[in-house]
């Protein structure tokens, strides 16, 4: 009923006995996605894990959104997206435990049913179906579209042909459509214009056409397609470079600890120091370096060996915020008697 064409069998599970099939699904395809990768023992935590719950709800919302956004495309008889959406929803449903998620599932069902209804109505319509896309194409031709490409019957592509419309495009349609309207005639001047106050609407429109006001198109925010990658990459490179320094210092003498402050502080530049601290924090976060206090309770750092990485992941993680001011910076330089930077700035690296 929902989709009478192209894949009627997918519909069946959702209509009747959906619970049975879904239960089966759960056993078969556990581990299909991250959300399903929990054993039955974890089920209890699984139910209450807010992160997982959120993820399911978010996926449901994405699915509902995608149906709503692509509605017109999905209505096309050749489009199979509805089936895919329903399959996706079935997958999501096996992890549904709470009422809120079930409500979203129901909402998706409403959307999908509505779409299915419209698809069905297309099928049962008698006579020729009306295709608005084709209509738009014909209208464009009627309006005198000057096509740049020869896309006469390019209906499938949403009529996205380029070309420009003549000035009087809409007047042509209006003139042709006039005979369909039994509108009472409106006043107009028989012999050209005569400025009256207030101007009658017809007059105003006519003037507008002759001298189209240079009204700027409404400003729309341009969508950010791709993040500027260079900055991101620069940070990554710098982090790796610092890891290289750290490893080489460590290898020079694995027994003596490397003082954190001596490592990050650049006595000639406060800003470089801050940058080093910033980049260092990535290494700590990613578990590539670790910090510890030596016998004097001073922070030291060491690179984490390849084999150690996993072990490090299991031990409890701590967070801290490193603050530094130029005053502290100067004090540290004096206290540690730092003469030279251990991390050379990228430009002087080659020397």
């Amino acid at each position: 009923m929902k989709r009478a064409r192209g894949g009627g069998d997918e519909e069946a599970p959702r209509q009747n006995g959906s619970a049975g099939r879904r239960k089966g699904d759960q056993q078969q395809s556990d581990g299909d996605d991250g959300a399903g990768a929990f054993g039955p023992a974890d089920l209890q935590d699984d139910d209450n894990d807010p992160g997982l719950r959120r993820e399911i709800r978010s996926k449901y919302r994405d699915l509902i959104n995608s149906v709503q956004q692509n509605r017109e495309d999905m209505l096309s008889p050749s489009n199979n997206k509805l089936t895919e959406v329903l399959e996706e929803a079935n997958k999501l449903f096996k992890d549904v435990r709470q009422a809120r998620e079930a409500a979203l599932d129901a909402q998706l069902l409403v959307v999908a049913t509505d779409l299915g209804k419209e698809k069905a109505s297309q099928l049962f319509a008698e006579g020729t179906a009306f295709d608005p896309t084709a209509y738009a194409e014909h209208l464009l031709s009627f309006m005198g579209l000057n096509r740049l490409e020869d896309g006469e019957d390019d209906q499938q592509n949403g009529g996205a042909v380029d070309g420009y419309l003549p000035q009087d495009a809409w007047h042509r349609v209006a003139r042709r459509a006039e005979c369909c309207f039994r509108t009472s005639p409106s006043f107009h001047y028989m012999m050209g214009s005569f400025h009256a106050e207030p101007p009658p609407p017809k007059q105003r429109i006519e003037r507008q056409r002759k001298a189209p006001s240079k009204e700027a198109k409404r400003m729309m925010p341009t969508q950010l397609k791709k993040m500027e990658s260079s900055h991101q990459e620069a940070t990554e490179k710098e982090v790796e470079r610092i890891l290289g320094y750290l490893k080489s210092y460590y290898q020079d003498d694995p027994t003596s600890p490397i003082s954190y402050f001596e490592f990050v502080i650049d006595p000639s530049s406060f800003s470089r120091t801050v940058e080093n601290i910033f980049h260092m924090s990535f290494l700590i976060r990613d578990g590539l370096a670790r910090m510890y206090l030596d016998n004097d309770k001073l922070p030291c750092i060491a690179p984490v060996e390849e084999g150690e990485v996993e072990a490090g992941g299991s031990c409890s993680r701590k967070q801290c915020i490193v603050a530094i001011s130029p005053k502290i910076w100067k004090e540290l330089i004096e206290a540690f008697d730092i003469r030279d930077t251990m991390i050379h700035p990228p430009s002087t690296q080659n020397e």
Binding site: V173, R176, P185
Partner: protein, 270 residues
């Protein structure tokens, strides 16, 4: 001029009318439509007896003019406004005046005065005469908005009478009219379509229940039902698609089943 007649009228009224009548006049002056009750036939009769034919003709002419001017924007005329601004103290013979105005429109202008909404009492004028084939001898300026309206009405009709707004916006986008942008001829397209056309009663724009986010759908408004010929739309469709209009059998049947009559019955089903 209107002012003058009104004044003399009031004087005359105060002279001749009974106390009860002038009392009700004060209530009526509160210009709310609810206070306007259609006078009964006998009341109209009595009112007419107290006026000269020339006075009634004069008031009728004023009403006709009011309609003609108001019709320029195609916004329906509300009875409350008509009574408040033109009919005024002639309200006791209102049915007679509207009857005469309708006759004038019919016989002099070839227009038909239609009450489109019996509940809120709104009137529109429609053309009684079929548009002549081919270019009209009078070179009247065309209104491009009628082209826009035509496209919307035709899509609604071809899609069976009701469409979601998205379909309309998508179709318009293909015709280089983006509802989100200012169009050089239509200005704020969204406003023209969902506000101006709706107020003119060419379109109905209603929220679809139980949708999240909110969605709307379009239908033909009462004015469109009265004014626009479905058969002619279909004819144009056939021309555009190079197809016999009869191949859209459903639409064809609808277009030819009910002659585009001017029954306001369609309005009551809202």
């Amino acid at each position: 001029m209107t002012q003058l007649t009104a004044m003399t009228q009031r004087k005359r009224l105060s002279n001749t009318q009974s106390r009860r009548q002038s009392g009700s006049l004060v209530v009526q002056e509160e210009d709310d439509d609810t206070t306007f009750t259609q006078p009964s036939t006998s009341q109209v009769q009595r009112g007419l007896e107290k006026l000269t034919p020339a006075q009634v003709d004069q008031k009728t002419a004023e009403v006709v003019q009011y309609f003609l001017v108001k019709d320029q924007k195609k916004i329906p005329v509300r009875r409350a406004d008509l009574v408040k601004h033109v009919v005024k103290e002639y309200r006791n013979i209102y049915p007679e005046i509207i009857k005469r105005a309708a006759r004038t429109f019919d016989q002099v202008f070839g227009l038909k005065l239609v009450e489109i909404d019996p509940k809120s009492h709104m009137y529109i004028l429609i053309n009684k005469l079929e548009a002549a084939e081919g270019a009209s001898p009078i070179n009247s300026p065309t209104n491009p908005k009628m082209g826009l309206l035509f496209v919307i009405l035709s899509v609604i009709f071809m899609k069976g009478g009701v469409v979601r707004e998205n379909l309309i916006w998508n179709t318009l986008k293909k015709l280089r009219v983006d509802p989100g942008e200012k169009h050089e001829e239509f200005g704020d397209v969204k406003k023209v379509v969902t506000d101006e056309f709706v107020r003119q009663r060419y379109l109905e724009y209603a929220r679809i229940p139980h949708t999240e986010p909110i969605e709307h759908e379009f239908r033909w408004g009462q004015r469109a039902e009265l004014e626009v010929s479905k058969a002619k739309i279909l004819e144009f469709m056939g021309q555009l698609h190079e197809q016999d209009p009869q191949t859209w059998s459903q639409q064809y049947r609808e277009a030819h089943s009910v002659p585009n009559s001017s029954q306001p019955s369609t309005s009551s089903q809202r």
